[in-house]
Symmetry: C2
Subunit: 146 residues, 2 copies
């Protein structure tokens, strides 16, 4: 199974808000860039709002960043959109047989290892800032202007 595209969509949205910060960024407009439905965008923005990463102008609409892009890591975004529970990237099979020595102990053994694996993955996300994404993106955009 894959980690929901909510995460990559959220990064896309935040990068947009940073790069096109002059524009009036409505959910409809953002949806046009992501190529999805405006409601999908609003839902993600709702989660980013809860995490304190963006705000939305009431009434007139349009979202904007509320933090310096050097202060936002991909891990913050990943947590904001709630794609993977804390320490639960791997699904354990519930209720192995407690009468069986292996069944009684396998979970505890695996949990330590799998948490470590998940942490390693999340550590990489923590080391990348939205700033870095926007920076690389801006370079690519610049160089693709022929």
């Amino acid at each position: 199974m894959k980690i929901s595209s909510r995460f990559t969509v959220a990064v896309h949205i935040l990068a947009l808000l940073s790069i096109e910060n002059e524009a009036h960024c409505t959910s409809e407009w953002i949806a046009g860039s992501v190529n999805t439905n405006p409601v999908v965008v609003r839902r993600v923005i709702g989660q980013l709002k809860k995490a304190g990463l963006v705000q939305v102008r009431p009434g007139t609409g349009g979202a904007f960043l509320t933090k310096d892009i050097k202060e936002i890591t991909l891990l913050d975004i990943y947590h904001a959109v709630d794609v993977v529970e804390e320490g639960e990237l791997f699904q354990m099979h519930e209720h192995p047989n407690p009468q069986c020595p292996v069944g009684a102990n396998i979970q505890a053994v695996l949990e330590v290892i799998l948490r470590r694996a998940q942490a390693a993955m999340e550590h990489v996300l923590k080391e990348v800032r939205l700033y870095d994404v926007v920076h690389i993106l801006a370079e690519k955009i610049e160089s693709s202007r022929s």
Copy 2:
């Protein structure tokens, strides 16, 4: 979303085969330890067989390991049961708008970063051998015998 319990079930099965290697390990018997349906076990064993990790005695039944447990890593098992595609732990939203500079370039930028994150997670799995799991398990079983 979580990575399918097929993976942890597979580790459970292989640990069983190693620890109870004297027993006649039928799918029914294994299912009793995992606490699931025998067919679920047979399906997982089918994948482990394809990967060359186990064999099944024809006719009379019963599975057994075909490799030294020091030669099997958790990554091998993870690949065997096919829970995450190569470089696709994270779902990208398909077809962002190519007319938008951000939409046209975001995927390429994220792909590099997210592959790195996935690789970090898989690297941890690669460093743990079935031998290590069995070893820790055996210790726990020993110490829980009161």
